[in-house]
Structure formats: structure tokens, C-alpha cells
């Protein structure tokens, strides 16, 4: 009997030898697998424990140096050395320091609709924006996926997230996702697939879909999926990969565990407050909170579309004297576009500092660790205690627009008031 399928069920079935439905355990072929400099060493050591020093699909296996990039310590430089030598031995693809954040590069250069992508990073779900079943795992799972070219998965139940209604001025995908996480909670979608649809999703560019998919894991979800459409096709075309496009969408009568309907025309700018991503408030409720550092970047919001929004607000303005403004383009392509469009000049003239494409200060490894009692407003995806390198620091999360407005005023500011 034909069973109508969700996006997750459809993709997993295509990669499995049998038909699948939610809650089945399946063994799937993996199309793309990757790790970064925080998770590679352990993965490489696990592969070696198997008694092999090879990977199943070298041209679909990628290592990224992005979390400590360039390396701030000799221990991490040695991890980089191990990654380079393993890449040479196995013929896998290496993106060395300065080459961008793994999730951005996976979307720009590798993932295609209908793929299964597994990565040793929780935000691997970002590639769901292109219609790929993309999910994060630990180093050992990735080691096995690299070595055997497959993994085991439990087919997730799906929450349908129906988003209708155009955004108001200065409201973006980040505000929507913070709103959703605030509503369902940090464990509201544990093990589930989030499947986005609705009139607002239809007109949304891939950049914003990536922001939504990226943060699916902040609600506990396994993946955040989108049908592929004309926007996907145009995105792949822009990155010279039009031939990677294929149409994928859920069946009309697919079974959803839950449907969440959101009228996105009613949303206003949102922030997540310390120390959890689901501690969400409107900007209005927290405006005036003094901020010591603003960070615009990351796999959540460091794309050219994000930098344009921030630059529009910062143009001709100066950042507040008592605050540092850090900007990190998510990929080399983003950086070059930002230079060509005069965006980097705008940031520099406003008093911001620009760093090489990488994770920047998001992970607390380098490039902007908070001092005791300091507050950062960041466009990243996580604000857990200690996230930015100091458990005595405080982190708020927002859109690039709210971050830019805050950078000018020195306190959390509604971008509609600038």
C-alpha cells in the first residue's frame, strides 16, 4: 500500500533498502559527511581504532577548520596538523583555516535537495534549507559514517510549521525562529523533524531558510526541512550548481504529529535572554540593557543578506563608544561580496572590526571572549552559560538588524526605532 510521506520519510526511504515510516529504525546510505576542528581528532582516532586509514567516499567526506581559525593555541595547531595529514592520506576534502564555517560551505558547495548529510556538529541541520535531510551527530557516529558510507537513523515524527503572513519591517527569520523556540521550548521538538511551509516560507530566500533550519536543533529537533523550489534552484545557480537541483516536497496527505500555525505578520523583533535559547522576549521587553560587545556573524546570521541588513542600519553611524563591534563573514564568498558592495567599508567606518571567515567568538575559543559580568548581543544560535568562553558572561541572541541598532546605541535597541 502506498503510504503518503513527510519530507523526512521520503528522503530516508530513498536511502534505505525498505519502505519507511516514522519511528522505524533504518540503515541509510550517507551522501555527505563532515567534521570540524573540534570534532575531527576524535573521529580520526576512532577510524584508526577500526584498523583502517581510509574513508568510503573521499570526494563526499569533508574536514573543516573553522572553530579555531586561525589557531589560537599550539594544541589546536596540532589538531590541525593531524587533520591535514589524515586528509592527505585518505584523499578526503579539506577546508583549511579561513575557508568559512562548515555549514555555510556545505550549503554553498556540497548539499543538494534529497541528500542525507551527517556532520559532527549540532548545527548540521542548516542544510535542511535546501531540502537535504541534514543532522548533527557525535564524532564516533561520524567516524563510522566516514568509514562505511552509512549510518543508522530512527525515522523522526514530523511537526509541520505553517508560517503565513509577511513580516513587518525589521522582522526577520531569526525573530520567527526565536519566537517558535520560545513557544515550544528547548526540548519541545526533541527527536522530531520540523517541516516548514506556508506563504511566508514560499517567498523566503535560502539565506533566511538557513537561519530557521540552523536553529531547529535549539528546539531539540533532529532536522529542519524545506521543500525545494524556485528559490532553491536560484540559490544553487548562484553557486554554480544548478545541475544539483531536484524537486522534493512532502506528499499531500503525509502524517504529521503536530501542526503549528504562525501568523508571521504579527511578530515583532525578538531576543533570547541568558542563559537558554528558549528564554525569549520581545526586544521591547528588554530594551535598555547595556551591552559590551555586539557580534554579527556565524552559521545562523553571517551571510551576505545579513551583512546587508546590518550595514544599512550602520551606514553613516558610529558604534557606541563603550562597546566592541565584531563582524565575521560566514564564508570567503560572503566576504568578497561584502567588499564589492562597500559593506566592509561601512562596518570599518562605523568602528567595527572584521575577522576572517570562521565561527569567530561564538564558541568561546578565541576572538572576543567575554570578561566577567560582560554582556554580548550576538546573532549566533546559542547563549548557554559559558558559551562565549566565560561562565561569568551574559549572552543575548537577536537578528542582525537588532544587533546593528544595539551597536549604535550601546544598549539593546529595537531596530524600528533607528
Amino acid at each position: 500500500m502506498f503510504r503518503e510521506k513527510t519530507l523526512a520519510e521520503k528522503i530516508l526511504k530513498e536511502h534505505s533498502v525498505k519502505d519507511v515510516k516514522a519511528n522505524d529504525f533504518v540503515i541509510c546510505e550517507v551522501d555527505i559527511c563532515f567534521a570540524h576542528d573540534g570534532t575531527s581528532q576524535l573521529a580520526i582516532e576512532q577510524i584508526k581504532k577500526l584498523g583502517i586509514e581510509s574513508v568510503a567516499k573521499p570526494n563526499k567526506t569533508i574536514l573543516f577548520m573553522d572553530h579555531a581559525s586561525p589557531s589560537p593555541r599550539r594544541e589546536l595547531s596540532n589538531t590541525h596538523l593531524l587533520m591535514r595529514s589524515f586528509a592527505k592520506k585518505t584523499g578526503l576534502i579539506l577546508h583549511d583555516v579561513g575557508c568559512g564555517v562548515c555549514h555555510q560551505i556545505i550549503s554553498e558547495s556540497y548539499a543538494q535537495p534529497g541528500d542525507i548529510v551527517v556532520g559532527a556538529d549540532s548545527h548540521t541541520c542548516t542544510a535542511g534549507a535546501l531540502g537535504a535531510f541534514a543532522t548533527g551527530m557525535g564524532s564516533t557516529d561520524i567516524a563510522i559514517a566516514m568509514a562505511l558510507g552509512k549510518t543508522w537513523l530512527k525515522v523522526p515524527e514530523t511537526f509541520k510549521i505553517q508560517v503565513d503572513g509577511n513580516f513587518n519591517r525589521m522582522v526577520y527569520a531569526k525573530d520567527l525562529m526565536l519566537y517558535i523556540i520560545g513557544e515550544i521550548g528547548a526540548n519541545g521538538a526533541t527527536y522530531k523533524s520540523l517541516e516548514f511551509s506556508g506563504t511566508n516560507i514560499k517567498i523566503m530566500e535560502i539565506s533566511e531558510r538557513m537561519t530557521l533550519a540552523n536553529m531547529a536543533v535549539e528546539a531539540g529537533a533532529k532536522c529542519g526541512l524545506f521543500s525545494s523550489d524556485i528559490k532553491t534552484k536560484m540559490y544553487l545557480q548562484r553557486h554554480g550548481r544548478e545541475e544539483s537541483f531536484q524537486e522534493i516536497y512532502p506528499d499531500e496527505k503525509a502524517k504529521y504529529e503536530r501542526t503549528i500555525r504562525i501568523d508571521s505578520s504579527k511578530l515583532s523583533p525578538m531576543v533570547a535572554c541568558p542563559d537558554t535559547v528558549d528564554n525569549v522576549k520581545t526586544v521591547d521587553e528588554v530594551k535598555g540593557v547595556k551591552v559590551d560587545q555586539v557580534y554579527i556573524g556565524t552559521c545562523t546570521n553571517g551571510r551576505i543578506e545579513d551583512l546587508r541588513i546590518a550595514a544599512d542600519i550602520l551606514k553613516g553611524e558610529k558604534k557606541h563608544n563603550d562597546l566592541r563591534l565584531i563582524i565575521v563573514p560566514t564564508s570567503p564568498k560572503t566576504y568578497i561580496e561584502a567588499i564589492n558592495e562597500g559593506i566592509i567599508e561601512t562596518f570599518m567606518e562605523s568602528g567595527g572590526m572584521i575577522m576572517a571567515p570562521s565561527c569567530g567568538p561564538c564558541v568561546g575559543v578565541h576572538q572576543g571572549i567575554l570578561g566577567n559580568g560582560e554582556t554580548c548581543l550576538s546573532t549566533q544560535n546559542r547563549n548557554f552559560k559559558g558559551r562565549m568562553g566565560n561562565p561569568e558572561g551574559f549572552i543575548y541572541l537577536s537578528s542582525p538588524a537588532t544587533a546593528a541598532a544595539t551597536a549604535i546605541m550601546g544598549e539593546i535597541t529595537d531596530p524600528r526605532e533607528i
Binding site: I27, G38, T39, L42, G51, T124
Partner: protein, 166 residues
Amino acid sequence: MVLKGKVWKFGDSISTDLITPGRFYHLRSNLSELAKHAMEDADPTFSSKVKKGDFLVAGKNFGLGSSREHAAIVIKLSGVSVVIAHSFARIFYRNAINVGLPLVSCNTDQIDEGNTLEVDLERGILYNITKNTKMNFQPLPILMKTILKEGGLVQYIKKHGDLKLV
């Protein structure tokens, strides 16, 4: 497998940043050194007081956040023999089993710090010796149970040669 141990109790939403903070990123190539900082931002004294075989008990969504498997590894290296929580974040759940750290999901509201517990992983029974109460829990799915029994995913693959559903 039946385990017996003393409880260290934590609350809800213990993130991987609290378990193994990002500021120790450079120690990920030196796991025994990294383990000295296990749970440091949730309880700075944890690694000095935990004893081999102790139980770590927590509330909802234990292990949320980053995919860093080091979180499960440092808990195991610190001597903890089982983590019992109301619920687990998905990636941590897989990671723990993959490195041979047993997990139990059940209501932990009535378990207090210092209680002595006995856990039967096969049969899904948790016995609180201190309070003389008994609770049932759902044992692991068969595939995960087998991976755990072999001591982790690498050992499982070495023995079975491949991933197999049964």
C-alpha cells in the same frame, strides 16, 4: 547489567557547555586532562568529589547543545557509571551509547543527592535503596542496547563488521 551507586543530582537543561566548556576546547586532544573539568560550570567541585561507580542524576533535556562527544566521554572518565535523567537531548543520547556510557530516562523528581540507587538496565528497573521505592523505565531500543553491550560503536563495528538492525 545491574549497577549500584550514589547519586549526584543536577537540575534541568544541563548543556554540553556546562558539561565540558568551550574554553577547554584545546584539551579535546587530551581527554584525561579534559575530564578534570567535567561538569565544571554546573558544579566546579564535581570532578574532585565524584567516585568511581557514582550515578549522575538530572532533570529535563540533559546534554542539550553542541554535538561534542567529549561531554559523554568526560562524564564516563570521571567515574560515573550511569546517567539518569528525565529526558536527554538527542545527540548526547547517541554519543553516550557510542562511548559505552549507560543512560536511563525516567522521572527523577523523587531522587535526591546522596541517595543510593540500584539500576537493572536489562529489565528496566530502578530501585532507590535509600527511600525503598521502585520504578520501571523503558530499556534501550535493541540496536542501542547491542552497541552498549559491546562497549561502544567502534567495538560493535569491529565485532559485527557492519551496522545491522538486529
